[in-house]
Symmetry: C2
Subunit: 342 residues, 2 copies
């Protein structure tokens, strides 16, 4: 056995090291907490305050507005709410690029509208083809293949395509403040969902990597899909040129009921197509948060609302004002728009 | 300052207490682990071994079959796989009970088939009404109300209705071994889903409490639903008497693609209606688990397969045998059937 004085010295030394470790650990924790101020890309102001206040109220045990984690459902529109949507919806840019990529297999497109307009970059003729023409383009590029094949084309496009204004991949044009909001909500026990007019499988190919939202939390427009056993016994799902469900406007609460089955306590949109989702969210009992992203920044992004063909925000803006929903002013409320600007 | 000998005694004492605490803690942990042997209601045998082996292979870091948690999707049929389905599908028992409850508001039902058959308890006439009659009963009891109103009727029924053989609430007739399997998978990072021919909102009313599966992880048959603003401005979702999507047979992989957007790595069913879900699961790359519950216990539950009108298991049983999928023999593999028998 060691001499008592040696043992005492050793034990004292151990206690000293232990105390030091505790101090270092406390310092690390507090430093990391300080580095993780929530929503760093949001300027201080009414929108940020409203978000922080709402989250505090619904998550604080004993608060009259407390909501159990399982019921903390948050739904977000995608186009114009989580990423940009100008000069054309990004999914439509995908459709146009696919027409060009598929053109060699379709020589008849050279002389058939609306395909000819796309191949000639003739925007006037494209617009003249109207909703019927646009639907034709979507069907020709989104259906007639298996689900696996379609997902592959989206993955390829997301990797290679560039946005005409920023010359960056489209997925670089997500809104950094909203990405932070999604993460902040999840850190507070929320389950975050996309509820978009875009089609489900287009989004599912990339949203997990970009927003941290898994495929099973994406609600969107769907095509009729059929199960088939190929002659060698391989099962496939074939996408048919027929819309199954349109997840836009009044379709959004229907999509929420169908896919999620719980009413959100927080919903964010940016256009009249989100109005019914916000109304549905607002009509639940207990604390609620309804938010709109208002595109007010012509320099860093785009400035548009009531007169825009894309992401028209008119009725929903009036209702948000009347009902005191939170309207985020991109120019005023956001320090940066895109992740690359940090 | 204390005398060195006193301080030494104190420090020795502290170390002794610390060591004792570590021993107690280790003992508590191992005791608790021993009390939490996985799948306690499963008899040792090939089915249990196959489950434990599969979960170990896909969860063990460095295993060639390792699957990241986000991709550990497990899908379960409901009727006959997670709870009983005899003498009639429980959701159909709900429909019959609702006809009786609603009869005072529908005097015409006394003289109109198939409603008359239900009110007279005339099983022969009911069967004679065929699929068309059964559909009429489902529409009359499942649609024509708001989603909130429907959920309330299901909640009331689940609380009050009794199964004719066991005289217990229907939700007491869930399979204890399968409830344990669901929990075991979740404890190993799986996300558990129901993929059922039953209708989504019937299941969502009670599956979270009974199976621990949240509403947003339930895939099923859906009705067309419409968003409406009531005159006072309240938004409601009205269920229309029209099927939107049938989540059965070849519809199951379609439902999985539509609602979940990822291919399961484990799927469990009990009838030919689950065959395509199992084929779809089996066709993915990497480790896979396909399971069937075989109703072999006429004493504790029911015994049926190839000839049954409900939960017919014929083609899927042949394919399971040929492809070495796991067939659970209820009589042999399960210590108990229902939670109350523990």
């Amino acid at each position: 056995m060691a001499h008592p004085r040696d043992e005492l010295r050793r034990l004292r030394w151990q206690r000293c090291v232990q105390a030091l470790l505790v101090v270092v650990w406390l310092w690390a924790v507090s430093a990391s907490a300080a580095g993780q101020q929530p929503l760093p890309s949001w300027n201080d102001g009414p929108a940020k305050t409203a978000i922080l206040d709402f989250v505090r109220r619904v998550t604080q045990q004993g608060s009259p507005d407390f909501v159990p984690p399982a019921e903390r459902i948050a739904t977000f529109d995608n186009d114009g709410t989580l990423w940009s949507e100008q000069p054309i919806y990004f999914q439509f840019a995908f459709a146009l690029d696919r027409v060009k990529a598929l053109a060699p297999q379709h020589p008849e497109w050279k002389t058939t509208q609306p395909f000819k307009a796309v191949l000639d970059n003739d925007l006037k003729a494209l617009v003249a083809s109207g909703p019927k023409g646009l639907t034709e383009l979507v069907m020709a590029t989104h259906t007639g293949m298996t689900t696996d094949e379609f997902t592959k084309t989206v993955n390829d496009w997301v990797t290679t395509a560039r946005h005409p204004r920023f010359n960056r991949p489209y997925t670089d044009l997500v809104f950094q403040p909203m990405v932070e909001l999604l993460a902040y909500l999840r850190a507070n026990g929320f389950k975050t969902f996309i509820v978009s007019g875009g089609t489900v499988e287009f989004m599912r190919a990339w949203v997990e990597r970009v927003y941290g939202i898994p495929p099973e939390q994406v609600v969107g427009t769907t095509f009729v899909t059929k199960f088939e056993l190929r002659p060698d016994g391989t099962p496939v799902l074939v996408r048919e040129p027929k819309i199954d469900f349109i997840d836009d406007g009044p379709g959004k609460p229907v999509g929420i009921a169908k896919f999620i089955g719980r009413r959100p306590i927080l919903a964010f949109g940016n256009s009249d197509g989100d109005l019914q989702m916000l109304q549905w969210t607002a009509a639940g009992t207990g604390a609620r948060f309804m938010g709109l992203v208002h595109h007010t920044d012509s320099t860093r992004e785009w400035r548009y609302d009531r007169q825009s063909h894309i992401g028209k925000l008119d009725k929903a803006l009036d209702e948000a004002t009347a009902r005191k929903w939170v309207v985020v002013d991109m120019q005023r409320d956001w320090k940066v728009i895109y992740p690359l600007q940090r």
